[in-house]
Structure formats: C-alpha cells, structure tokens
Symmetry: C3
Subunit: 471 residues, 3 copies
C-alpha cells in the first residue's frame, strides 16, 4: 500500500552526496527566481492574444500532450478515451480521460511526465493527495475550479510564471495576427515572438506540396513558377516573420543533408515536384538543396536556425489515419551530422551572421559530432536535450557528453518545446536543477571553483539563450 | 600480494552513498527471497528430466560457458585446453581446464563472470579461498565432491534455487519429449516450458536449409512444397510447442527487418531457396517476409515474440571450423529498430494478442528507438540487457536509458539467457540488486517515494515477467 | 566576481563520496610517481635530439595545440590571432595570442584543456593567479622567464617528467636521423622511438600519392612499379623503423575496412592510382587491401598495429586552404568495427605475433564491438580514449563500457597522443586518477578487493603498455 499524500521536496533531483547536494542547492537557488526565456515552444500565440482560459483538466493536461497520452496508450488505454481527435470533450468524457491518468499514475514512475505533473499538481493546483482511481474526481474538481478562476487565464499565468520571452512555432503563410495584436497591446509587457517553420514547404514529394507552394506565392505576392521565385517567396516570408519579431527559423527533416545541387538541376526537380512527378530520391535531393539555401538566407537575414532532425513521423499509419499527427507515434532514428552539414558549413560555417543550433534525439552524436562541431565553428551551438531526452538522466548525460569538448558557452540554453503551458515553469526549473547538479559535481571534484559555477549557471539560464536566439 | 580469502559482502553492488545504500538494501531485501522466473534460458530440458548430476567442475563452470572461455582465449589459453570441442574430459584434462581458470582469475576482474563465479564458489560450494594456481586443485576437489553429492542433482538444485518457471530454447522439430516427461511427472512441481526458435528455418541461403524444410514437412505432416505449406507447417509446430507449454518464440537474425513481400514473389524466392539458387539478398528479403508472418502467427496463437538481433555469429571462421558455434566468437553489430519493425507494427502493433520483446546488444537503441516504441505500442516491451550487457554497469545504463521514456511497466523483467545452471540464482539476484540501486537513486533524489519503489521492484521481479511471458 | 587565485587540490578528479575518495586517493598514490610510458605521442624527435628550448608561451601552449585553438576559434577568435599558420611570432603577437587565452579562460570551464593548463600553470610555472585579461601579461612574463631557464630545455624536462619511453609519429620515408642521434648519445638514458605511420601511402586517390610512391621507391631502393614492389618497399621501411627502435605502426583512415582483393585486381588498381585515373571507390578498395597487408606484415615483423579510424579531416575547406591541416577542424564520424576487421581477423586474429590496438572517437563501439573483439581475440586490445574523448567523463565512460566484457588486461594503457610537451605529465596523471576512481568504485561496491585494485592500477600504468607496445 503506497502513501496517498503528494508533496514536493525542496531537494528534488539533487544528488545523494551531501556535500555535492549542498553545492547544487546553492547553485540552483542563485537562478531559481530568474525569468523564463522560452525560445522554442509550441504554445499557440492565440492563447495569449485572446487570454484564454483552459477548458478542463483533460484539455489542460492530457489530450494535447503526447508525452502523456502515448505512455497510457502503451499501457492499454485507447487514444480516443483520452480525448485525442475527439474535439472538445463534454464533462463526463473529460472526467473519464482524467481518471485514466489517475489510474495509470504508477505507469509514469521514473518518467519526467510524472515529475512535471506532480510539480504542477502541488505548486499550481495545491493538490496534496496522490492521483488514483479513488482520488480522481476530487482532483478533477480541484483543477477545474482552478481553471475557472479568471486569475488563471493564459496571460495572467504568463505573468505569474515570469515568462520574459515566449517563441511560438508558426507556418510560413500564417499572417501572425495574434503576434501583431500582442505587440500592439501596450498593456502586455511580455514578449511573444513567432518562429518560421517551413518544413512542409521543402518536401516536394509530400502530398499537397504543390498547393502549399501556390499558397506561398499568393501570400508573398512573389511568383513561384520557378525555383528562384520560390526561394524569393520564402525569403519574403522570413522577412515578414522578422517584422513580427521572429528571431529564429526551425527545421525538422529526416536527415541533416545540405548538399547543394546545380541551380538548373534544382529547378528541374522543383518543376517535377510541381507537376507531381518527383521521386522520393529527387525530393530528398531537392530538400537538401533547399536547406542549404535556408542556411544562406539565415546568413543574410540573421534568423537563428534550429535543426530538429531524424524522427520517423506517424510511425503507426492506422493511428495516424484515425487520430492525425502529433499523437505520440513519432519514433526517433539515427542521425549523421558531420558529413550532412559539411556543404553548408563549408559555405557559411564561419559567417559572422550565422547561428545554427543542432538538436538530436540520437544521443550518440552529442560527443561524436555535435560537440566537436560546436567546439570549432563559431556558428554552431549544441542544442540541449529535446523531446524524449528532456528528462533528468538524459540531460545529465548530455552535459557530460558535450561539455568536455565544447564547454558551456557553445550550448543553446534550455528550450521547453512544449504545448503543455502549465508545465513550462517546472520544465525550466528542472533544467536549472540539473545544470546545478552537473556543476556541483565539477565543483566537488575540484574541476571548477564554486564562484565559477555560479557564473556559469547564470550564463546558462540568461546569457546563452539571449546570445543564441539574439534576444 | 593479494589476500587469499574469498568472501561475499552483503552490500555487494550497492551504491557507495550510505543513505542510498540503505534504501537499496531495503528494496533488495523485499524481493531477495522471491522465486525465480526464468522465461528465457539455454538449460537443456534433458538435464531436468533425467535429473542429471554434472560431470566435473570444468563441465559445470567452464567448457559450455562461452562467457568464461572467451576471455581466457583472449588472454592466451587455447580453447581446447578449456575442453571446448573435446567431448567429455578425463580428470587430468578437467583439472587442467579448471587450473587455467584459477590462474587467470585476475583477468576476470571487473567482469560479471568474476562476480557470478565468486558467488557460486562461496554460496554454493562453500569455498573460502581465492582461485589461484596454488589453490586450483583444492578448489577442484571441493567442487567435485559437491557435484558427487546426490543432493546436488539438477532437479534438487532447481528446487533449492526456487526456480518457479524455466523456459528452455528448442528447435521447431524437437519432439519435446523431455518437456512432456516433466509435465506428466507428478512428483515434479516446477514448470519447465519449451521456447520455439525457428531461426534456421527462416534463412533460405544457409547451407542445409532445404533439408531442414524437408524435416519440417515430415515432422508436421504438412506438405512444404510451397510457401503457404511451409507457413502452415511452422504454425503447426508452434501449436505443438504450445501444447507442450511454450509461452514464447525467439528470433535472432542479423537485422529486425519485417518488410512483407507480395506472396507470389515470396513463394518464388522460397522455390529458389529449395533449389539452392537463392542469392543472399533474396534470402534476406524472404526472411524479413517470414518474420512478418511470425508476427502474424504470434497474434493468432498468442506466443510472446522475443527478438534478439544483430550479432555476427562465428566471427572467426578458423575457430568455427575447429570448434563449432557458440564458443564466444559472436560479435555484436549495430541495429536499426524504428524502420525495420515498422511494417509489422503497422500491421499488428496494436493487436491485443501481440507481445513483442525487443532485446539489443547495441545500447544506442535503448533511448533512441526501443524505449520510444515501447512507450507507444501496447504490444512492445523493452527487453532487459542481454549477453554482453547483462552486467552491473550496463544494466544501470539500461534503466537510465529506458525508464524516462517508457517507465517500468514496459520492460520485460530479467532473463538469464544462460546454460550455466548454477549461475542462475546469482544472475537473478544481481538483477534484483541493480534494480534496487536504480530505484534507490530515484528515491534519494525525490523522484519516487520509497513505498512506490517497493511496489515497483516487486513488479519487476514478479509481475512484469508474468505479464510479458503470460505465465 | 570570481576568485583570482589559482591552486590545485590534491583530491582533484576524485569522487565526492568520502569512502570512495579515500580508496581512490590510496590507489592513485600507489602509482603517482611511476615513470611515464608514452607509446603514442606527436612530440617531434628533433625537440629532444636538439634539446630545444621553447620559443615563447604561445608557441609552448597555444599555437601548435588544436585542442586549445579550436575552442577559442568557436568562441570568436580568428586562428591567425592565435598564431596558427603565422610562423614564429614576434613578442607582441605572442603576447596577443596568450592574452586571448587568458581572456577566454572561462570558455574552457569543464574541459580537459582547462584542467591540463591549470595543472601546468601551477605545478610547472608556479603561477598562483587565474588567467584573465588583467593578469595576462604577468602570466606571460612568468612563463617566458621559465622558458628562458636552461633547466627547462626539452631533454631536461624529459628527465624531470620521468618519461621512460616516448614514441614519436613519423613518415615512412623519414630518415630518423634524430632518433639515431638519440640512440647513439650515451648521455641520454631515456628511450625515444619512432612510429611508422604510412596513411598517405595507402590512399591512392589523394593528390600527390604517385610522387609519395616514387619517393618510397627511392628511399627504400625497392622498385615500386607494381604492387608487390610497393609492398616490399613498405616492408623495407618498416624494417628500417624497427632498426631505429620502432615498436608500432599507426594507421588512421576513414574506416577500418580490411577486405582483401585478388592480387591481380589489386595491382590493376595500383596502376590506376599511379596513372592518376583511380576513382574514389577503387582507391578505398585498394586501401582496405593494403591495410590487410599491413596486418600481415605486422604478423611478420611484430610491430604493434594501432588503428585510429573515422575522422573527417579538414572539415572546413576554407580554413584548410588558409591554415593547413591539424587546426582543430577534424570532426569524428561513426565507425563500424566488427565487419570491417573480419577479413584481417579471420586471417591473422589468433596469430601469436599480432597486436592490434583499436581506438575510436565513436563511443558506441566500446561496448558493442571493441570490447567483444578484445574479449575473444588474443591479438586485439581496446585502446584507451583518444582525442575528443581523453577527458575525465569520457574516460570514466570508457572503463564502464569496456571492463565488463574485456576486463582490464585487454586494454592498451594510456596514450597521450599530444604535441603539447608540457602537458604530458598532467595527462598521464589524469589517467591514473581516473583509473583510481573507477577501481575505487569497484572496491566500494564490493566488486573487487582493494589489494586487487592496487595490483590492477599498477598493471594499467606499467604492464599493459609494456605488453601491448612490447617495451
């Protein structure tokens, strides 16, 4: 029989050794209250612009968060029972989804989801009992009441969470009206910026690509009947994003290839794409060429470029057909960095205007390729752990794998990459705690003085993201 | 000069930090005396059925165990000196083999072989002095006397070790007579079940494949002159195995491919295989198609499917030609999981009857592919470390790599995978100790309450293997 | 504000846990004063033969050491500002280069470069204040004065560092005159041996290959107009190196392939190479064939063979064109060992005369391929971490990844692989400290007795390098 009370320990995540723990505690305390900089998230700008209140506990904590739904699915709960693909849930359905989470609470032991939820339950909702089949309805009521309080609207939370900067992720043809509204609203002092994410526009073999291109042409007003026009149209949209505050462009493809084609050959492939007769291989070659051009544009307009490669999206087609994308069925694959980026880095690796942040779900490249690249090229930064790796042990492995070759200055600062809005504070706090752990180890092993560690953790929280994302 | 006494410390394998060690000690104590469930081993059923006594210390501890012989071979001892490929040894030869082990005792420092042997020496044989050239004959005598005691026959040991379930590994045409004898023997209360292992039947380019197929046809009574017949014959043998208590089928090929062919094309390749004119590439394509069908059959008959991929078998051909297979010359290679399993998982990944356990010797796929798959698909489980990785540090890395994405419920429970019969208790105990270490870390870092850790370690020892292997 | 004093802690690198630290301290103390064996370095023999004094602090510590320059380059300092490719620096330029290092001191936090420099600053130069913009000139003066002291010439330092053996790295046509001078100098009691490094001679598609071959023919006096002649010429140079004390040959190619070609086909490719019409693929096939022959020759002449594969050399072509090779722009790639070495190991893996040391920058192969190979083949040793991995955390990962499968006896002993002469003592001391940490963990976890650990660390420092490099 397990205890039923839920509580947070001030020393959570800190190492067992007392001396090291004491150092970690001091390091963490020095940055615990600093504002949050979130240069890569999936929170919709609309939430902030319209200052929404969240519908219900399931809509807040479960349905949109594939971290949460995927592990329940693995443990036998159908996705529709969790609200996935069901539109807005009525109260019984929302309660049922929430009850599933409570009943499956033990399945999350040892995962960061458990950690994040526990933190939110205690710190945000004031819950003091553990989720369980028995407590599910009481917890639902507590959270629902919290959500109904106007003090907990999206903007009020953004203030309370002390989020200084929040970058959303946006499609190239988005008109960014919500971002514009926020910028022109004098009463809103936080910074919400868009991120240019053109993935689908660079994949000429994907169904619907030609109509995306057509829309790009219409939105930009630039004729896209040949590749130079297409590139000019993309550049136009990048400029539009910059005018609306964007500081970065994000790219996620199956590999990191940047091989440049002859421009005439590239245009030929582009035309094949428009006519729907491009092969997969040709489309891959064209995409790598287009990514090279995105690096070129980044040198020209200065948008930081983040790369999130190597995920097999929608791995289970039947689930994709039933529920759509982003349901937790994206599975990582291995990635190659050194050779793939060489063409772009030969062209632009020492360009003073380029900032390239390399993320990975394949941990093997941290020490083998990313840290060595970030330790030579002034344009390259080692992105912090992302997605499946944004968890305590993986984050510790990352620091151990990257620091010895690239130091701390060549890393990106934390990104939360989430649409789970209320988890943002605990995610950033987790990152600060873990950086404190790593630095405390260095201090106790006499590899760093404690005052240097204090400076370093401050840089990791403040300076690195500001520098890397030009904030 | 090293000490000459041999002893076991109650806290062995537990972490240095006293507070963490205390938690680990309590967690381990709670499961230390639970029965052993061994759902994947290489102990021959004949040993139990005939209640054999072991020949001599070399035959018990050295000759059949490639973990032991390979490292001595690397350190300069020819395999024949260890009895490999020599048939039953006379006493001088057995003493010589055992003396080699004692003289090479230092070469095993830091390896699990040293740990397992030390445990057996002290706990089983009551030995109190270290193996060395000087002590070799005394130790030999002690173990030989122990072996001669009828109280140490295979069945008596199985009782004493408290092995509740033992799964053997068996060829599809085996008549399972020993399993049948054990099941019909009312005096024997332990459960010994066969495992269906059809590897060789799925590799159409291997020499002797056609005669294996012929034997399969004869044994099953199903005509195998075309592929549907062959598949029906395999299904017949799976049923035969299930009637004899089998709960799983085991598969070990160079990759995890499950790409399905057009059935006519597959049958064409099958015919090429029978006529001896299939190419290696064609045989690989056919094998992947056949593995897809094994997944299909697993959905139909419910046998758990374990996958042990990516070993270059018999790496050193001259040794293979002299000594045969399974001599320690199998060397791991890298493996790809996400793409390889996609065809089978698209077809059957959410089938309620499917249980798929993924083992690997390539640690890189734990966090990158296996945990993400096990954290989405209800059919997929992350197999615990196997073979070269069934060692303390590797097991700790496994829990750290898998848990954050897949939790504890999506892991298989321990398998010993051994033919070293007397090492089974210490192998399972090692696993329990290491799970206690991992959970103790989580407790001390306030990522889990101790009562939850107690529940979890009980599940890892009892519930997970029972669920995954349907025991 | 950070402290400004610089000091070394006696317990640096030791683990936090007091009990473990105490064991590590004792283990380290037992080997701290043993002579240095450096069987693979990049120190030029000329330095020792001519007993040079170093020019200035930049020439000693910065310009030639790409570990140091690459991270400053990443942090925005152009390489020429650090003296790279500038020839001998005048004093203002040397001071400026040194000032860059001091100003960028914080960028090295957490890296081994910081650790090595700190050790040299304190122990060698007696510096007690931290490098900074403010202290740069004072530190420069201190080091410059130290360099001007004749007591700090190369030979005097070699005595003071107690370097028993130093292996240099040399081109096949080098006349080894400096080595000869040292051997015939009765006043010099240390051993300086050459290493045969024929990389460029095995890459037939590289520009200038044909003229290298011609030079090889002239130097050896063996006609090289066909492949047998070329091989005989190489063998002749290997013999010449052995006569001058060489104990090993070093090989660094993009992969580890050893596939043997038909000799006639190989000769055809060789002729294509000489005529400049060989393709990249053909040259790769020829190189793998030639490496197979290097293994054969190693069996015949007994030179230990070290393999340092899988680096993308000169990754940034513009920097290569401006500054040349070895400037920190070499980036690792993944490597495959099991299949690549199989042809050579099938031929020679159990040959009594062969010693093959496998290094890697791809950590994934430590547990997956290298340890399993070293744990079976008597000829194969797991090389210690090299280059980007010669750092505290990576070295700890190496011992954890390799020991459980291969033990300690199948590892190479430390190599420093450096041209940073004054860093040699601290690099070897770091290795001894880290081996002490690993062994202390084993002792405290009751996996090894402390007297065994004492024996083991002595072997790692003395016996393993002597055995592996036949010293």
């Amino acid at each position: 029989m397990t205890t039923t009370s839920l509580r947070l320990y001030p020393d959570r995540l800190f190492p067992a050794d007392e001396r090291t723990r004491a150092v970690a505690r001091r390091l963490h305390a020095s940055v615990a209250d600093l504002p949050i900089i979130s240069p890569h998230s999936h929170v919709p700008a609309q939430w902030i612009a319209e200052d929404i209140s969240f519908d219900d506990p399931a809509a807040l904590l479960i349905t949109p968060d594939h971290y949460v739904t995927r592990l329940m699915h693995a443990n036998g709960v159908p996705l529709h029972e969790l609200g996935v693909g069901q539109g807005r849930l009525d109260e019984p359905a929302a309660r049922r989804a929430f009850a599933h989470l409570c009943e499956h609470w033990a399945d999350f032991r040892g995962t960061p989801v458990r950690y994040w939820l526990e933190n939110q339950f205690v710190e945000m909702f004031g819950i003091t009992e553990k989720p369980s089949r028995e407590s599910a309805d009481r917890l639902y009521d507590t959270i629902a009441a919290w959500l109904a309080d106007p003090a907990n609207s999206a903007r009020r939370l953004m203030e309370r969470f002390d989020i200084a900067v929040l970058a959303t992720t946006d499609a190239p043809c988005d008109d960014l009206t919500h971002h514009a509204a926020l910028r022109s609203d004098g009463s809103f002092t936080r910074r919400v910026v868009p991120t240019f994410r053109p993935d689908k526009y660079l994949e000429a073999a994907h169904p619907g690509w030609a109509s995306l291109v057509q829309r790009l042409g219409e939105t930009s007003g630039v004729p896209v009947d040949d590749l130079p026009g297409f590139l000019a149209a993309l550049q136009d949209r990048r400029a539009y994003f910059q005018q609306h505050g964007a500081v970065s462009a994000d790219h996620s493809h199956a590999d990191l290839g940047t091989t440049r084609l002859d421009e005439d050959e590239a245009n030929r492939l582009y035309q094949l794409g428009l006519s729907g007769s491009i092969t997969t291989e040709q489309a891959t070659a064209l995409r790598r060429h287009l990514v090279w051009h995105q690096v070129r544009m980044a040198c020209e307009d200065g948008l930081t470029m983040t790369l999130h490669p190597a995920v097999a999206r929608d791995h289970h087609r039947p689930s994709f057909e039933r529920y759509g994308a982003d349901i937790g069925a994206d599975i990582p694959i291995s990635v190659e960095v050194t050779r793939a980026l060489q063409p772009a880095l030969e062209s632009f690796g020492t360009h003073p205007n380029l900032t390239l942040v390399l993320f990975t779900l394949d941990e093997t490249v941290f020490s083998r390729e990313i840290a060595p690249l970030a330790g030579f090229y002034p344009s390259v930064y080692a992105g912090v752990p992302w997605w499946f790796l944004d968890a305590p042990d993986a984050i510790k492995r990352y620091r151990r794998a990257v620091t010895e070759t690239a130091g701390f200055t060549r890393t990106s600062g934390f990104i939360d990459d989430t649409r789970a809005f209320c988890s943002i504070p605990t995610r950033h706090d987790m990152s600060r705690r873990l950086d404190a752990c790593h630095l405390a180890d260095l201090v106790v092993e006499h590899r760093l003085d404690e005052d240097e560690a204090l400076e370093t953790i401050h840089s990791l929280v403040v300076d690195n993201p500001r520098k890397v994302f030009q904030l």
